[in-house]
Symmetry: C2
Subunit: 368 residues, 2 copies
DNA sequence: ACAACGACAGCAAACGTTTGCTATTCTGCG
DNA sequence: CGCAGAATAGCAAACGTTTGCTGTCGTTGT
C-alpha cells in the first residue's frame, strides 16, 4: 500500500506538498506541481490512510448508528433515513447492532470512540443496565468533549432525546381510536420493562385510558420481549389471567404480528372477537391477514433529522429539540367489539379481577 | 482523552510497560507493576486509540458487511449470522449499505481499506459497473495483500463466492414443485439484469423448465428492480403482454410480496387464478394473506459461515468453498392451476405469442 | 535600483501506539 | 564470592499523515 511518502518521491516534491494536494487543502500549490502529484497518486493507487489522518485530526468522517436489532424493520428504516442525510454530506454511515446487549453496546461505543467517529446516533432507547450505562455515558461525554456529535432518537438514561417521535401521544391516539370503536377493555402488550421507549408507550396507554375515563387495570398489561415471540406469549398470558378484553394494543408491530399469529392458531377471530393494534407501521403491517391497524411513525424522517441534528452540532450550532408527530392507521385488524362484551360492560361494573370471561365467550383453557 | 503516556506517568512506569499491560501482551510484567498500571488506566478512563494502534499493527478488529439494502430482511438476516460468529471471536461488526449504488460501495471499500478493517464480507452480489468494479477489485486485492480477509456470499464480477446458497437449484426446485402442482405456463420475475444473483436464479428457472421439458418463453420473464414495486410492475407487464400464465415464480420474496399486493388490487384470486412463489423465505413470507410459498435460504447460517471463512483466512488457512442447500416451502399462495388453463394447455400447443388469454379468463385491460 | 511582499515549497514536529533491543536487577549455583 | 542467566523495565524508532514555521524565489511599487 503506497504511502504519501512514495507519492511525494515519485512526484519529486516533499510530503508536505503532496499532502496539501491530495487532501485538497486550500494551501496554494502551483498547477504544475499539483498535476504531477495527482498523476503520481494515480499511478501508485494511493489511498490516504484514514488512521494516520484521524490520529492527527482526531476525527474520522463516519457517522455510526447504534440499533438494538438489525433485523427489526423499525431500525432499518431509521438507518436509511440517517444515510439519506449523511451520504449527501460526505459521511459514511456504519450500523452497529447491539442485539439489546448492553455489553456489546459498550464495546461499540468504545470502538467508535477509539476510531474517533464524527458522530454517533442512538436509534433505540437506553438499555437500563446501570453499571454499563455509567461507562457508556462516560465514553459519550469524552467523545463530545472531543468534538463528536451524539444524538439520541429515543429516551435514554440521561434524559430526553434530541429528535424523537411522540410515543405517548401515538399510543394515546390509538387507544382513543379503539375507544371510538366501542372498546372499553383494552389490553396492552408493553414490551420489556427495561426499554425506555416501552415505558413511554405504556404511559401513552395510561393517558389514553384516562382520557376516556377507563380505569387502569394492571391485569391487562403484560410485559414481554419486543418481538413476535413476545406477542404470542402475551396472548397466552392474557388468556391465562382470565380478565376479559376486547382489544389488544401493542407497543410495537412485531408484538402485534405475534398476537395475530397466536390468535389465528387459537382460531380467535380478528377483529370479530378481538381487535388488534400495533405501533410503528413497519412495511409488513399492511400485508398481514387481516392487515394491521397501527400507528405510523415517520421513521425515515426520524433518521434524517437525527443526522441533521448531528451535523448541526458538528458545525458548532445549538441543538434544537424536535418531536415528530404520529398518525393512527386503521386497517383490518380492528373493529367494533363483539356484542356480548358490550352487554357485559354496559350492564355491570364487575371488578376486573372477578369479571366473567364474557368478552371471549368461546374461549376456555381446553381450546388452547 | 487520556493517552498511554499519561497512564504510564501516573503509574510511574514507561509507556512501553504500560502498553504491554493494557494491550494484554504476553511480555512478562511483574504483578505489582501491572496492578499499578491497571489502576492508573482505570483512574484516567483510558481507552486505547484504535487509530494509533491500527497504524502500527495494520489491522483493526472490525469485520464489515457490505449489503445492498439495509431494509431488505434478506440482508438483515445475513448480517445477524455474521454477528453471531464475529462477536464470539472478539470482532466488532459494522454494516455498510450501498443502496445498490456502485459508487457508494466504492466509498465504503475505500473507507474500510483506509481504516484497515480485518475483514469485509460482501453479502450481496456484484453491481456490474465495470469501471467502478475495477477500482473496487483493486482495493480488495490490496487489502488482501495486506492480510485482510475478503469473503463473497454471492456471485460477483470476479467469480464464484466462497460461501453461497445454491440459487439455481433452489429456483429449479420451486419450478419443479409448481410443475408438480400442474402448472405449465410459469412466469418468472427475474429482478434486475445487473445483479449476478438474479442471473443465477434466472438460470435456475431455465433449468427447471428444461427438466420438465417446458419450452422457455422470453415473454414470460420480466426484469424489474428487486423490491415490492418491481413485483407490482412485473404483474402489469405480464398482463399487458397478454401471454397466458398460471403461476408466477419470483426471484425474491420482496417481488412476490409486490405481486401479491398488485394481484389483490386487481382482484385476481391467489392461488385460484394464479399461483405465486417467492424466494428467500424472509420472515414476512409466512404472514401474508395468503401466506407465501417460497424457497427457504439458510440466511443466518450463510452469514455465520461467511465469518467462519473470513476467520479461517485471517488465520492463514486455506479457504474452503461451501454451497448451502435450499428448501422449498409450500404455503397458501400456490395451488393447482385453474381448470380452463389446463384444458387449453392440454388440448393445443398454441405458440406462446398467439396464445389466447384463457389462463386468466376474467381479465382484460379494463379490469385494471 | 531597491525594498517589500506574495506565492510557493520544504523541514520537522506531532498525533498515540507497539516492539526490538538494551540495560538493570535479582536469583541461584558452582 | 563471582557469575550466568532469567526476569523485568526502559529507550527510541517506526507507522502515515498534517501543518506551523522558515526559506527562496520572482514580482511589484516607488
Amino acid at each position: 500500500m503506497a504511502s504519501i511518502i512514495e507519492v511525494a518521491r515519485l512526484a519529486g516534491v516533499s510530503t508536505a506538498t503532496a499532502s496539501r494536494v491530495v487532501s485538497a487543502s486550500d494551501y496554494p500549490v502551483s498547477p504544475a506541481t499539483r498535476e504531477r502529484v495527482l498523476e503520481a497518486a494515480r499511478t501508485l493507487d494511493y489511498v490516504p490512510n484514514a488512521l494516520a489522518r484521524g490520529l492527527l485530526k482526531s476525527r474520522v468522517p463516519v457517522v455510526a448508528v447504534i440499533v438494538h436489532d438489525i433485523t427489526d424493520p423499525y431500525f432499518a428504516e431509521v438507518v436509511r433515513g440517517v444515510e439519506d442525510g449523511a451520504s449527501a454530506a460526505g459521511f459514511l454511515v456504519i450500523t452497529c447492532s447491539s442485539e439489546r446487549n448492553a455489553e456489546r453496546e459498550r464495546s461499540y461505543v468504545r470502538l467508535l470512540r477509539s476510531i474517533q467517529a464524527a458522530a454517533v446516533v442512538f436509534a433505540g432507547s437506553g438499555l437500563d443496565d446501570p453499571a454499563l450505562n455509567v461507562e457508556i455515558e462516560r465514553h459519550l461525554a469524552a467523545m463530545q468533549a472531543d468534538g463528536a456529535a451524539i444524538v439520541h432518537l429515543s429516551p435514554h438514561a440521561l434524559g430526553e432525546p434530541e429528535v424523537s417521535v411522540d410515543n405517548a401521544a401515538g399510543v394515546a391516539a390509538m387507544i382513543a381510536a379503539l375507544v371510538g370503536l366501542g372498546h372499553r377493555r383494552i389490553a396492552f402488550l408493553a414490551g420489556p420493562r427495561s426499554l425506555f421507549v416501552a415505558r413511554e408507550r405504556l404511559a401513552g396507554y395510561r393517558r389514553g385510558l384516562e382520557a376516556a375515563a377507563i380505569p387502569f387495570d394492571e391485569q391487562l398489561v403484560v410485559r414481554t420481549s419486543f418481538d413476535r415471540e413476545g406477542g404470542a406469549l402475551g396472548v397466552d398470558t392474557l388468556l391465562d389471567a382470565g380478565t376479559p378484553f376486547t382489544a389488544v394494543s401493542c407497543a410495537n408491530d412485531l408484538l402485534a404480528l405475534g398476537v395475530l399469529g397466536r390468535l389465528a392458531e387459537l382460531r380467535i377471530a380478528v377483529p370479530g372477537a378481538v381487535s388488534v393494534a400495533g405501533f410503528d407501521d413497519i412495511s409488513t403491517a399492511s400485508l398481514t391477514a387481516p392487515s394491521l391497524s397501527t400507528v405510523r411513525l415517520p421513521l425515515r424522517e426520524l433518521g434524517r433529522r437525527g443526522f441533521e441534528q448531528a451535523d448541526r452540532r458538528l458545525a458548532g450550532e445549538e441543538p434544537e429539540r424536535v418531536v415528530l408527530p404520529t398518525e393512527v392507521i386503521l386497517r383490518g385488524s380492528t373493529g367494533a367489539p363483539p356484542i356480548e362484551a358490550l352487554v357485559v360492560e354496559g350492564t355491570s361494573t364487575v371488578p376486573a379481577s372477578s369479571a366473567s370471561p364474557a368478552a371471549l365467550p368461546a374461549l376456555d383453557a381446553a381450546a388452547r
